[in-house]
Every structure is written in structure tokens, then in C-alpha cells.
Symmetry: C2
């Protein structure tokens, strides 16, 4: 396959009105805050125990190892986020903390390379005995990802050496040999990390091991069912007592899987590795499987916000078109994984439609996952919230009406941090003869193409407008500038140095092939508010509509529209109006539109034959879903009723 | 208080087109089937272990006591149902089996009167140490109810003596004395049973103990929180690990409770006892509390089907107007308890509006709880089912799309059996000078009024029609015949011996006072199909409507209307039509009406800006909710979308 690849993150300097807030937050707020969390220094937050566990493992401290079995991965995700941050901007204090953590992790590593505080301290002798739930290989995967990122950002190879020693051990333990274990991780992650490790070290066994893990998954007899049936197996999570292999995507060999099943984060992490392997092994069959799974997600199992995971219990995919608004899961991490999967697919196929979904996930669910102040997080991302019913000890206890400080399972905050600090990776892809512009985030970047060193400067206030200026310093390089045409763009046009360019649209990219010196491409498109409809097979949204504008899905909040948002009807006879507000959320586009609100004053019983319901006119104000719940708690709704008379279509 | 009371069940012979099927089922199918279940003789069904446990306790067998801690109560509920059945019709085999069970139970009783196989065999020495979860007093309550019923039906007092011995022990253990326990049952039931035991034995301590239990509940410090904090406390149910006293209605002293909270079955059983105590002690304050709680349920926390319990987790009440259709609980037992509470309230207050709700619960949720064949049961009663999403290991796992054979927690099937076999209790109430006709179920009954022996014969094919003939043989007794006027009755009229009677409507009853000899009252009212609306505060039903006719709520099933019932819109411009069908469900009234169905052929993604949705005309056929799911699985929906244009009200 002729795939495009990433520009190194450190080659890209983001300076963007929309995203600066978040990228700055990572360095200024999130990493220091999470540093305190990892050190158990935030009063009132759920304790992490993460670094305390490593200190015990390293012999620096005594005590009992605490927290979930996968607590180690929080340090790794923090390190990965720190690495990306350091790639963009020197930060001696952050680097010092990171180096200390790396040193601590190194001193926690066993003689043979093994590295996991849970199985070293809490479940001694339990190594590799609980792949179903133990998250051992999952933690190893995040460690490897952090090591690759830290090496690429800082050039320091201490963590990379630690990771390689551990990966070498894993490659000895697992594999097809008679004396090797034929298992794989209950929670995929190791697979994609091993591909990364291969790409930076070029050591082939890492890639082979990734392939082994992926291809073994779902082979019969099922590894997890056999493991759980073994005498002495000790369950770690009560909700897995009756196991369904779909939970870990091990119900079928991966090449036979046609629909996205089970735990949503596990699924998309697995699919990332499958895409990587399709690319590395030029495996068109695997690529077709990836495309099938992608289509199943995007067409039938994804929320409009780019969220995935319809059931709170098991945090899982369920069935096609089951997309409940108020009881869904749509874990922040799952949207991160979806974006990573889509990014890979876009690079392999050169198809910009993948980026439409990547952008949807990043601008909506991932952004909603963190507060504008950077210190509160959503794990679950509902599309409709009535705070009163999000009660503890109820079927909706998993839905929180406001962001939380921290979680006992704290995957999402660190995952958001590493995503925001590596946002640059999503902007460009590069191949031998083309530079792909995927996302419209203001930045400057340098790259090499052919044998030339080139630079690009992208200026925009997208998504406020669809005007993007791309200045290329090409040193005479001949290549195609491939500018994405988003599916929602209207009146899309490009000028080169002021002259209208012929736009040849190729799988969602506008191709401009020329010899580039100091040239300027001006991309322009309209982003009007749009009303979108759900497929009627989505039972939850039958007869409803949502407001979107560009990549952003909009929602109604109680702060602007009062209570009982479920009683609001969208009036489609008047065009919605986009209104810029400088003073809200650091500058945001609102959408105002006409609606009606159903009320029944004096109707006490829950049901009645009296048709006392009346409509009141109301002007509705919608805000971007990614910014919701930054003005205290309250109701929120994405999908609104439509006014449908029988004779309307 | 001048309360009415019940006619003895054995004075009432039901012979009703609508209900015969069910009452016959109890004797012919349900009791024998459940007998086999209690004896673990049904292949494929979840084992009960119930009688096996008693056999071990009695020393007849060896082995390990199995099943939930409250398994004993299934035998009691079966005995209670058997008792009612024997009251109506001799059945030597049934009586022999019942007597054997009673003998077995008697031989399981400890020297001091204690009687519970769980705490005798499984948790030895644990007596009264886990009132929070152990269901000890709950099981005692069901035993007492069975004893009273068996005594009243058969005159045999063996079980009554067993129950009294046990109740005497409980009255020694619990009470205000310094050497007594000041606790009460986590699951109310003992309270109402003690009132029954008092009423049949006239032994005052039973009534006093009931009052003690009710008044202690919710007093500070909370008994359950203290109990759970005690060293050595062993939790039985994992979902109670973080306890909220609302679960057991112990969050406040009962007189301070203003809303129905917590586990719905527990709540309504408690309220039954509160109503009983209000009556026995002439306690108007307690009666007001009962009225407040009743109004809160009926006006804000009850489904249109008479179901209660909005959350699957904790099977609980949540908040006002939280009535989700597809993820609710609405346990069959909770509707049974609601009917029992309403029946009590109607007798205390003489207000027929309580019966409207009793009838709603019986004709809809209770009836839906059992299959027309009598051998399959619903525990959870949803108002909307999409079978595909009722998956194991998901947030909707508690909703079953088809009735089940049996359950590991098997309260509902036995509860339905005792309810159907005691249906007679709901038909009449009697006071010193009035006979109340509550439900229109064909029957003959004898009663004493003043000093006369009288008889009544009620003939009807209700709810097919609203024509009821009541023949009274009054022997010259002077009393008021109080005939309920249902809230839905239209053109209500009564003739006496062919002459139009003056209908004085008194709190929902039409009072006909006269000296009764052989007289005939002909009651007549229309029961047209009606469209009802939800209060817009019920978020789940905003802009929706339901079809009802008389006491019956209707629903659409896939068998009649195809798939994707969520996309169906009710067209209110044409009147719905009631159509009798002899050949369905043993004779049933269907409702046919015009509707539209939203479709979007070719619309693949879950959301799209293309407004490709079109309405197709469809004739919809609704069946009674109480009869749903008797033609295999499939979709079902109660609340349908309305066609609402902005200018409609």
C-alpha cells in the first residue's frame, strides 16, 4: 500500500484561536494537575496511588499497592502527554518530573524486564495468569507508547530501553512456540504500541508479535474462556462473571468480524492495530476488514457527536441503530480511539471521509470530555441530560450531569491530555509526492518532500469561518497539496496566489499539483448552520432533528433555554442564524432558531385524556456540544423534536 | 374511621368471560406448574430449591441449603394462592399437597418457634443479624399471610398455629423493651401480615408489633446503616454495598415521608400496612400520609399501565415524572402491591378513584405479568420493547422481550398466582349499610348486611361493553348499593327494575339506597377508545399519545404493525375504531386507527442533512397491553408519536 504517514509532532507548531486554549491547558493546567493526582496530592479527588505504587515497587517506599490493576497506565499516559508537550515547547520542570518518573519506572523493572506493579506487588506470582481482566499487556502497551513518544520528542532513550527490555520479554513469553503462551490481551493496546515500537526501532520481532496477538484473537478455543475456567482463576471485576467473548472482540478471528462488538475502547484500539498491520504487511484482506468495521461504526453505531458505546453496562457496542441519548456510554477514550483508527485509515486509503469522522470525534466528544478550565472530566458523554435522573443507585448512575474531578478508573483524563498535546498529528499526512491537509488548525510546520525541505503556514479562524490561508515555502519542490473538502463545506473554492485554481476533488481532497516556491493557497467555503435528521431506524431519534455547523454538533442547554428541553420542538420553517459571541467560552458561535415548547399548565397526572397541551413560541439558542456544561449543571439536549404534520415530508 | 371491609373470598364465585381464563389457569396450570417448580421438577427452569430446603431443615433429607435467602417465601405464596383456590373450588389433590407442605413447614420450625431455612441451615447463628438484606421478617410475613388465608379458606388451623408460634417469638424479640431488638425488616411485608393475623386471631400484640415495626422505620440512628457497620456484617447482595436508606423507605420516619422512594415493592407493601394501621388506630395523621404518598405515585411516579419503579437498578422509584418506556422496571409484584394499597385506601375512604388505579394495575401490568397459557412470566413490564437491544450484559439486560419460565428471584410468579386466585377480594367492599361494587367481574356472592343474609349476582361481559346487570336478593334489607362510576365511563346511567334511577354520585360511586328484595340494577356506560396524553414533564412521552379503552391500555405489537414501531405516528384526525375479535386471546377488543410511518429508504448513515424522510399511511391495530407478547416475541410500544404541526394545540 502506498500510504501516507505522519509529520513528526515536533515539526508542527499550533497557534490556533479555537484549540490554543486546550493545548495551553495541557501544559499549564492538565499536566501539573494530573501530576498532583498521580502523586495523590489533590484533596477530595479519588486517590490514584499510581506513583506510590511504583515507589513501593522500586523499593523507595513501603506499603500496600493500591488502586485498580491497570493503575500503572496512568503514569504512562501522563508521560506520553508530557512528551508531546515537550516536543512543542521546552519546559524544564515538566521534563525533570518526567525524567524522575522514568527513573522510578526503570527502578521498578524486574531483572528479566517485567514491569507491572500490580503483578509484582499485589498478585505476586500471577504474571500472565489473568489476561482476561488483568490489563498486564494493556499497561505494557501504554508504557511502550510513552517510550516512543518520549524518545521522539526529547531524543532521550532511557524509557525506550526500558520498554524494549519489557517488549523483548513479552516476545519471549508469547508466540506460536510450544513453550510460549498463545494468549493475548483482554484489553487491546499492546498491539498498536508494538507497531509504533517497530517503526522507531525497526526491530521486526515487535511487528511480528503485534501480528501474532491480533491474529490469535478469537481463535478457537477461546483463550479467555479457558483461562477463566482454570482452577484458581481469581476474577477481578464482578461484572465479568458471566463472560461473553464479544466483550474483548474475541468472539471470532478478527478477519471474520463484520460488526463492531463489545467494549468500545477495546474495539477501536484493536482496529487501530489491524489498520497498522494492514499497512505494514500490505494486507488488503485485513484492510477490507477494517473498512467493514469502520463503516459499521460510522453508519450504524456512532452517535452524531462521534461517541461510541451504547450501553453503560460493559461500556459496549450493542446493535445497529441502538443510539440512546440519555443512557448511552460514549466514553471519551472510545472517541479518542475512533479518531486514531480513522486517522490511520485516512493515511492508508488517502480518503478524506475518514477525517470527517476524526474531526467529529475531536471537536465534539473529545472536547466535551474536558472542562474549559482543564480540571474536570467527563468519562461518559450523554446526548441528553436531565440531571435529576442521573441518580446514584439507578440505571442511569453511569451518566454524570457535571464533569468530575477524577475517577477511580482514570483512563479518560490522561487520554484527553495526550490527545490534546498530540493534536498536531491529525493536521497533516505526507506521502512521497503529496502533503495532505486534514484539519484546519492554525499552525506552522516543516517537512521534507522529495529531496527538498519545505515549510507550510496555515492561517485560519476555523470553524468560525471556512477561510484558510495556506502559505507554502516549497523550495521548488514538486508535489500535490491535498486540501480536505469537508462533507459539510458549501461553495468550496481555492485560489492560488489570487487566481482561481482548478479543484480536482479526489476522495475528499482537492488536489493542487505544482512546483511550490513561495505560494499561497486560499481555501474558502461556507459553513451555514444545518439541520440533520436521524435515520428512522434510530428509534431514539425518530422524528427528531439536530443542529450542526461545520464539524460542531450543537446542543440546547438549560442555561439558555430553560428546563424540560425534551418538550422543545424545532421549527424548520425559519432558517437558523449563526451568531458570534466573543464573551462566551472564549469566543464561540451560537445558533439561534425558532422553536415551540409544549406545556400543559395545570395538568397534574402523568397522563390524561384532556388535550390541554399548548405550544408556546420560543427562541432557542444552541451552543457547541464540545463546550457544554461549562456554566454549572443543568439540562442538555442534542436531538430535538420536529414539528411534523402528516402532510409534511 | 368508618371503613368498609372485604367480603370473604369464599363467598364470591367468579364466572367471568374476561377473567375465567386466568382464575382457571391458577388452579389448572399455575399451581400445578409452580408445585413442580417448588419441587425442582421443571427441566430447563431456574431451580427453586424451595421445598428441598424445607426437607433438609425438617430432617427429611441431607444436603446443602440453596437459592436466595428468601426462597422460603415462594412456598408461602404458593400456599396462599392454593388457599384462595380451595376457597372457590374443592380440589383434593391440591389440598393434599398443601397439607403436606404445611406439615413439612411445621416440622422445620425450631423449638422456640423460629422458622427460616436460610438462617437455620446456611447462615446458622445469624438470626436477626441482617435485617437489611436477610429477608427474615419478610419470609415470616408471607408465612403469616398464607396461614391466615389457609385458615379462612379451609378452616384448618395447623399453619395458623405455626405462624402464631413464630409471630409470638418475633413479638418477644422485637419491641421497645431494653432487652428487645429495635429493628425492623429491610423488606416490608411482616407489618401488613401481622395486621391480618390480628384480624383473624384478635390478639392485640400482633397489631401492636405491626405498629412498632412501622413507626420504628426511619427513626434515627438508622438501623440498617448501624447494622451494616457492625463488625462481621456479611453483605448478601453486592448492589447494596453502598446503601441509601431510601432503598428500604428508612430515610425518614414514615409520617414524614411525602414521596414514594426506593424499592417499589418494599414501598407499596409498607404503605399497605400504614393504611391498615391508620384504620385500626383511627389515625388520621397516618391516613393523610398514605394519601400524600398515593397521590405522589399516581400523579407523578406511575406508568399508564399501573406499573411503578422507574429504575432497573435497585428496582426503585426515582424522581417525579421519570417514566422511561424502554428501560423501566415496573415489577409485576409492585403493581400487585399498589393494587393492595389502593384497595385498602378505597375501603377506608369510600373513594372510588382508588379503584380506578387498582383496576389499571390489575387489567394491565398484573395481567401482562403472566402468559395466556399460564406458564410464562414477566418480572419487568416495559412499555416499549425493541427485542434486539434487550441484550445480556447491557444496560437493558433487566428487560426481557418475552416472558420467562421462572426466575432465580421468583417473587412475581407466585405473587401473580395468589393475586388471580384472590381476585374476588377486589370486587366488593361492604360496610354496615352499603355494598360497594368496585370491579365489574361477573360473579355471584353472598353477604350479610344489617341482620339480613343477602346475595348478589353480577352479570357482564365488561370490558367488552359497559353493561352490567346486578341482581340483588336482599331479603328486605335496607342498604345502599354503591356502584362505581369509572373515571372513563361515558353516558353512565342506572336503571332499577327497568326504571331510570336517580344517580347520586358520591366520591366515584353511584349510591342507590333502598330496601332490597329481588331487584335488578342495570348499569350502563359507554367505553369508547380514547387517546390520552402524557404530561409534558414526562420527558419520555413529550409529544406522544397512548390509546386506551376503559380500564385497558393498548399497545402496538410487531405482529400487527411491522417493525420499528418507534417510527409510528398517531393520526388524531380520524376516530379510532373498536373491533371485537373472537379468535384472538380468547376474545378481545382491538382498536384500529389511522397513522403514519416515517421511513427513509436508502438513508444509510445514522444521521444526515438529507431530508429524505417520508410518511407512509398505515392502518394501525392496537391490542390490550395485558395480552401483549402472546404471539411470540417482537417489538411493542404503548406511547406513540403524535403528528404535531406548530399551529395545532
Amino acid at each position: 500500500m502506498e500510504s501516507a504517514c505522519a509529520l513528526p509532532i515536533k515539526n508542527i507548531q499550533i497557534d490556533d484561536r479555537f484549540w490554543n486554549r486546550y493545548t495551553a491547558l495541557v501544559t499549564d493546567v492538565v499536566l501539573p494537575y494530573q501530576w498532583n493526582i498521580l502523586n495523590d496530592r489533590v484533596p477530595g479527588a479519588v486517590p490514584s496511588y499510581c506513583l506510590a505504587n511504583f515507589r513501593i515497587a522500586a523499593g523507595d517506599a513501603e506499603g500496600e499497592r493500591k488502586g485498580t490493576c491497570f493503575q500503572d497506565s496512568d503514569a504512562a499516559k501522563w508521560l506520553e502527554a508530557a512528551a508531546y508537550s515537550l516536543a512543542l515547547r521546552p519546559n524544564p520542570e515538566l521534563e525533570k518530573n518526567a525524567d524522575e518518573v522514568i527513573d522510578l519506572i526503570g527502578r521498578s523493572q524486574c531483572e528479566d524486564g517485567y514491569l507491572n506493579t500490580y503483578f509484582t506487588l499485589a498478585e505476586r506470582g500471577g504474571r500472565w495468569s489473568n489476561l482476561t481482566e488483568g490489563h498486564e499487556l494493556y499497561c505494557a502497551g501504554h508504557l511502550i507508547e510513552a517510550a516512543v513518544a518520549y524518545y521522539e520528542s526529547t531524543g532521550k532513550d532511557r524509557l525506550l530501553a526500558i520498554a524494549c527490555r519489557y517488549a523483548d520479554l513479552i516476545a519471549r513469553v508469547f508466540g506460536p512456540g510450544e513453550d510460549q503462551l498463545h494468549g493475548y490481551s483482554g484489553h487491546p493496546e499492546i498491539e498498536l504500541s508494538l507497531v509504533k515500537l517497530y517503526r522507531v526501532t525497526r526491530r521486526r520481532p515487535y511487528l511480528e508479535l503485534a501480528r501474532y496477538f491480533v491474529e490469535r484473537r478469537g481463535q478457537s478455543p477461546n483463550w479467555f474462556l479457558e483461562e477463566m475456567a482454570r482452577p484458581g482463576y481469581r476474577p477481578l471485576f464482578r461484572e465479568l462473571q458471566s463472560y461473553d467473548p464479544r466483550y474483548s472482540q474475541s468472539h471470532l478471528p478478527v478477519r471474520q468480524q463484520k460488526s463492531a462488538e463489545g467494549h468500545a475502547v477495546r474495539a477501536v484500539y484493536l482496529y487501530c492495530a489491524m489498520a497498522d498491520l494492514a499497512e505494514e504487511y500490505d494486507d488488503t484482506d485485513m484492510l477490507e476488514t477494517c473498512k467493514t468495521l469502520w463503516r459499521n461504526i460510522v453508519e450504524k453505531r456512532m452517535f452524531i457527536t462521534g461517541g461510541v458505546g451504547s450501553s453503560g453496562f460493559w461500556e459496549r457496542f450493542t446493535v445497529d441503530y441502538d443510539l440512546p441519548n440519555d443512557s448511552n456510554y460514549a466514553e471519551t477514550c472510545a472517541s479518542i480511539g475512533l479518531a486514531l483508527f480513522g486517522l490511520r485509515m485516512s493515511r492508508i486509503t488517502g480518503d478524506a471521509s475518514y477525517i470527517d469522522t476524526v474531526e467529529r470525534a475531536l471537536y465534539n466528544t473529545v472536547r466535551a470530555g474536558i472542562s474549559l478550565e482543564g480540571d474536570r472530566y467527563f468519562y461518559v458523554n450523554p446526548l441528553e441530560v436531565w440531571p435529576d435522573i442521573c441518580m446514584d443507585h439507578s440505571s442511569r448512575a453511569h451518566v454524570k450531569p457535571v464533569r468530575q474531578q477524577w475517577f477511580d478508573v482514570a483512563c479518560c483524563p490522561t487520554n484527553v491530555a495526550r490527545t490534546l498535546s498530540s493534536l498536531g498529528q491529525y493536521i497533516y499526512s505526507i506521502s512521497d509526492n503529496a502533503l495532505y491537509v486534514n484539519l484546519f488548525i492554525q499552525n506552522t510546520a516543516s517537512f521534507a518532500i522529495g529531496e527538498k525541505s519545505a515549510a507550510v503556514s496555515l492561517t485560519t479562524d476555523y470553524p468560525k469561518t471556512g477561510i484558510i490561508t495556506i502559505r507554502v515555502s516549497g523550495q521548488g519542490a514538486s508535489f500535490a497539496l491535498m486540501v480536505r473538502k469537508p462533507e459539510f463545506a458549501e461553495n468550496y473554492s481555492i485560489t492560488i496566489n489570487g487566481e482561481r485554481a482548478e479543484c480536482e476533488i479526489d476522495t475528499g481532497y482537492c488536489r493542487i499539483s505544482r512546483i511550490w516556491n513561495d505560494d499561497e493557497a486560499l481555501v474558502s467555503f461556507d459553513i451555514p448552520p444545518r439541520i440533520v435528521y436521524a435515520n428512522p431506524l434510530v428509534r431514539a431519534n425518530c422524528g427528531k432533528a439536530a443542529m450542526v455547523r461545520g464539524p460542531e454538533v450543537y446542543c440546547l442547554e438549560e442555561a439558555d433555554n430553560g428546563q424540560n428541553l425534551a418538550s422543545v420542538y424545532l421549527d424548520e420553517t425559519a432558517a437558523p442564524e449563526a451568531v458570534w459571541r466573543d464573551d462566551l467560552f472564549g469566543g464561540t458561535m451560537l445558533i439561534r432558531f425558532r422553536g415551540k415548547k409544549l406545556s400543559a399548565p395545570g395538568m397534574v397526572p402523568s397522563f390524561s385524556p384532556e388535550n390541554a397541551q399548548t405550544f408556546q413560541d420560543i427562541t432557542l439558542t444552541a451552543v457547541p456540544y464540545g463546550s457544554w456544561c461549562n456554566r454549572g449543571g443543568g439540562e442538555m439536549i442534542v436531538w430535538m423534536h420536529r414539528l411534523l404534520a402528516g402532510n409534511q415530508a
